[in-house]
Amino acid sequence: MATRGTTISRLTTLWESPHTLYSWFATVDHKTLGKRYLATSMLFLLVGGVEALLMRLQLFHSDLSILKPEEYDQIFTLHGLTMIIWYAGPILSGFSVYLAPLMIGARDMAFPRLNAFSYWMFLASGIFLYISPFLGQAPHAGWFGYANYTLTKYSPGMGMDYYALSLILFTISTTTGAINLIVTILRLRAPGMAISRMPLFLYSTTTISFVGLFGLPPLTAACIFLELERRWGMHFFGIAEGGTIFLWQQLFWFFGHPWVYIIFLPATGMLSMIVPVFSRRPIIGYPFVATATVLTGLVGFGVWLHHMFTVGMSDMAMSIFSAGSMTVSIFTTIQVFAWLATMWRGRIVATTAMYYAVGSIVLLVIGGLSGVFTGIIPVDWQVHNTYFVVAHLHYVLIGSNVFPVFAGFYYWLPKMTGRMMNERLGKLSFWVMFIGFNAGFFPMHNAGLLGMPRRIYTYPSWTGFDGVNEVITVGAFVLGIGILISIINFFYSLKRGALAGRNPWGADTLEWSTDSPPKVYGSEHIPVVASRHPLWDDFEEEEDPENDRVLDWGRLTPTTTVLDAVPVGIATIPEDSLAPLWLTITLFGMFLAIVYQRMWFALGALILSLVVACFWMWPRTEKEVTE
């Protein structure tokens, strides 16, 4: 029988990547990749934030000309794309990729190399999009890119081509990531973690992964149509040739609205983890919250026409989709009341993470209510294309994505870095962000009701929009300062923060039973779960006197059944590989060749990609440790 020391050294040898340049590019460790996801998407948040501030400067007064109209169009398109596509989704993927295996007691994801591929593709698609502003030809038709403004007649530059193809690259990344998370969460859960005991964050992650599988292909189809029409002279959207511009809108919003839930549900899942821990009690209505999460994802497919109430549709279609939009708000309400009840019945610990969580509930309710407004058809007709909608969508996206993400950072960063964040700076950052956000976005409701249209680069002074826009711009800058304070706090705490220890918050889920930061192999003995709150019950998860669950003769983790989590097999986990990076590079080259219609180069890159994929999949013997 191996002693504890040899077990640990064997596990370390198996799982650790050496600190070499090769390992830096070849790593498949979900913790490294998760941190890269988080860092990269935070970078996109900052880029998108700077773009937002540039726009706010331009709109500070009437008739300013800090930005030219074309520049403004490009910047507001990039802002929308960066925030909605390249920040809001991937940051949640980052949390999922880092936390999901730890939460379920697995040693890595189901497909670690695919995980690396998803990350590299995400990075590559972002780089692909940001080539275009350096050519001076960024996309300029809004993140929604409505046809037929996107056709070559009105958008002659390369901007919309970069738009379409970077989105296709991004859907590849998100789809592979979703498949990976689905198989990981459904098949690799610790023995005993039946589906009724799964942490709520994993419910939302699984739901949005399925939503992604079914919601992203219409976007891919729409982008394929756009590119074929723009560069190959086929006809889908051009009205003169028998196409219809609404084909784009239908396909885009069939993707677009489920995407809203993709960037919203995991954040509510985080709240469902954080609120109970800082209320010192289990969440109230766990089955209701879990069901509401799944139903939100499902019903989210039946609301997309509410983005198109003004295009002229039958009353029947509009009524059904209006009713669908109302139905979705019921499921969100269930979650909100579950959090409120949990706080009501609990003893609240006022940490920074809890501040952000409660703040996001407040903003989410405001955004949800203005969403109910816009879901009602007559109100929608009144406020359509005004700043009211801008206010609504920012309340929902910042309230239910940025604030929960910051709550998540203050909650989980001690696990990732091993050091506590500074509470005083954190609370300061929260208040600055909260005040700045409300000062910046609440007046937008007013501006919208006064009739200020969105997507305009300036406005004349007689409209009387000056005052409200000054407040909005100041608020936006205050929000930016608040975010900066948290970033400073992160770097400060990385050096000076108090050591976190295993479970600084007294939390209930499995990721807190590992070291902070976790060992490369996660936990030494695969945990076994007996209840919904493994660390709050008196069952010892890693009790394993006979060393049955160390699995230290290879890179291994157990697989279990989908519903009851009965162990049925041992999964082998592959080693580091450069193949995911090479495949990303060849696909990137292929898409670049397509933008410039160099189809022989594209074919060459495709063949190279296939060669790399074959190399990737070639069966080989895995590393084993022999005694």
């Binding site: 098949r187 292909p217 219409p218 006809h235 196409g243 084909l247 008196d538 097999g569 041992i570 069966p619």
Partner: protein, 207 residues
């Protein structure tokens, strides 16, 4: 803390067999998302037709070749199923032969589809109108999927061991075959939506 506590299943982990199911689960997810891509394409096909008096039945697609193409693909699926059965019984040589027969039939499908384009569809081009654009996009996208399936099958065909090897985390033969069956089923829907129903509509229109 009062939480419901149920003792976990008492199974020894160390003696469990190696998992080989993750690959097939991932493939089902791939098929789900690819199927949705075709649903979007078919949706676009009908949406583009919804504002026109005559759609698709104005050309009356000739469906004989499409049916023969369908027969080829379904037959290749049947052969591959037989191959899967052989591999399951560890008759790997027979499985490999079945796989290569399927590949040949797939290549035959592509050749015949090219012939069909050039003979039956010479009056309709991708650039002539929306109907041509969406017809060629859907059928070419399917052909791209056929090529992807063929590449996968050929790759399995040259892989050294594709039975129940101890270290392979997947069952490559079964996984690739599943994708091939999916590609074949998509063609059935293409024949139904793009060939048979327009002719039926034309019949209704004329009579």
């Amino acid at each position: 803390m009062s939480t419901v506590q149920i003792p976990p299943p008492q199974v020894s982990l160390a003696t469990l067999p190696l998992d080989q199911k993750r690959g097939i689960h991932a493939m089902w997810c791939v098929i789900a998302t690819e199927a949705m891509l075709f649903v979007a394409m078919f949706g676009a096909y009908y949406y583009l037709g919804s504002n026109k008096d005559r759609w698709a039945d104005h050309v009356a697609p000739k469906w004989w070749l499409a049916l023969i193409l369908m027969a080829i693909l379904l037959a290749s699926s049947a052969v591959l199923m037989w191959g899967e059965h052989q591999v399951k019984k560890a008759r790997f040589a027979a499985g490999r032969i079945a796989l290569w027969i399927s590949v040949l039939m797939g290549v035959g499908f592509l050749a015949l589809q090219g012939f069909e384009y050039s003979v039956e569809w010479k009056d309709v081009t991708p650039y002539s109108d929306t109907y041509g654009s969406i017809f060629y996009t859907i059928t070419t996208l399917h052909a791209a999927h056929v090529i992807a399936g063929l590449v996968m099958l050929m790759y399995i065909g040259v892989m050294p061991r594709y039975g129940d090897t101890r270290r392979t985390p997947h069952k490559p033969y079964k996984t690739a075959a599943l994708y091939w069956h999916f590609v074949d089923v998509v063609w059935v829907f293409i024949v139904l939506f793009l060939y048979i129903i327009p002719n039926f509509q034309r019949y209704m229109h004329v009579h």
